[in-house]
Amino acid sequence: MDFTLTPEQLEIKDLAMKFAKNEMMPRAHEFDEKATMPMDILKKAWELGLVNTCIPSEYGGNSFSAIDSMIITEALAYGCMGMNTAIMANDLALLPIVIGGTDEQKKRFLTPFTESYKIAAFCLTEPANGSDAGGIKTLIKEDGDDLIISGNKMWITNAGYADLFVLYGTTDPTLKHKGITAVVIEKGTPGIELGKKEDKMGHRCSDTRAVTFNNVRIPKKNMLGGLNQGWKIAMKTLDHSRPMVAASAVGGATCAYDHSVKYAKERIQFNVPISSHQAIQFMIAEMALKIEAARLLVHKAAWLLDNHQPNTLLASYAKAFAADSCMQITTDAVQIYGGYGYSKEYPVEKLMRDAKLIQVYEGTSQIQRLVIAKEIFTR
């Protein structure tokens, strides 16, 4: 057992935190208000190597371990959960290529992402299928050397800016998960229709849209892992992406915690700093212990992945616990700030709005418990 980060990981963390505090935090409020993508910040993050952490060095990436990418994600979410969503969505979209792509596909699709800042979108959810992802209806039909895709996707992060869409469809909806197929669709392919940008509660700077695929024709060489092989890829992707999303919850929660500790020392009520009141102390103690526990779950889920051991269960523990903790912690941060916490002039109300999404995307908190219970009762 060893809980220490390597000197290199400490440096990675320092850099990512420095970036979060100097570049992201000061402008988080502005982009939340404007609800536009902070392209200059995202590009700068890419230049420093903080984006696309999943790309192996053979294809121009940095071959980060899963732990490394958790460290980076946690720090970036500390800076702004919304901006981090725009960054993390690239990994969610590229991971299926890393996991299920051939060498040729990886060169063709991943390498350009290491040469300039490009944006990817991951298209799984549909208007009528969110949690029940195995029941998706977007059709993938064979036509000679091509595939033809038709259907509606919903809540697609980065959609308005995407250079690449990684899409899950089905060759036959009655086959359920046995018919799921993953494909890569490049921007500009005829038939892609973008919906309007959603006006969201949180993560407002990230670009979320419905995307309609009207008989979009792509070559079969854009299919990942073969016909009807998509579900396996999707499940393996979740093993990596769920801990990452959990790491972002830890980052957001830590930000709320730091604000709370600082404010509690400064705010005087009843002639003493409110940090002297046990009620406040207990809330902050609860925050600290939940953050530590959540981070340990994230790191264990990532460690298992790095050591090629099954981590599905730990990934769900981490995702559920970190997301729920982040919601509680950001809510308490608003409580500690009192009336000021409710105002947009102070940072914590945004954190509370941002936290909510983490309980919803990449499998809701309920779905994580479903996965956990299934592991318990079918073992």
Partner: protein, 262 residues
Amino acid sequence: MNIFVCVKQVPDTETKIIPTADGSFIETNSIKWIMNPYDEYAVEQALLVQAANAGSTVTVLRVGSSKDTEALRTAMAMGADEAYLVEAQDNLDSYMIAKALKGAIAKSGKTPDLILSGKQAIDDDCLQVPQILATMLNMPSVSVVVNYEGSATDITVKREVEGGALEIYGVKLPALIACNKGINTPRYASLPGIMKAKKKPLTTLSLTDVGVSDADKRVKYSNFQLPPEKPPGKKFDATDAAKMASVVKEVVGLLRTEAKVL
């Protein structure tokens, strides 16, 4: 050009400083070390000069404990080519540090064309290592530099003086330039930079290797203690106009006799 940069590792600005029980130094176990912020400007300036003068090398030097090599690794991750660490306690006096730096430069086998440093270290705020080192090496030095221009042989630097005015110096290299905030915007060490830094040479030397001994000690630290707590501010009650005149008089008097700012 052979460019050298002196960097110091200092406690993070958010660190709570605690003197050791015996008062001999401060507790170092719980400290998070960072590169002295002014030295980041020096590293950046070295990299800018290197980029403008093909074939130049940037060597970073540090005197201090080897428990954490954060400052040197950061400098190399930013782009410096190699590093020398002279292993020593973290509280040597300025003279010993300067002598150790001089020794490290000699050990590198390279003749310096330019030495850069921060104008001061934010831990002990002594503001003398650059000047002592330049004197030892018999080269000119300019400190508090906010602007740097020039070639591989002649440079023009601007330094800040009291009142915000600037002094402009033409300097022939080799010289030592101590940088202030404003001279440039230090780059971040990128992640690929951090990976590459692992493979760059870091040579460790002892004080003996660089010819420094206890006989070089000029300052003996007798006791480390926290500064006395600031007395609480004074409040004056001038809520009604009648009191105003006497309060103003009292405040002006105190500014003169107590605060001595008037």
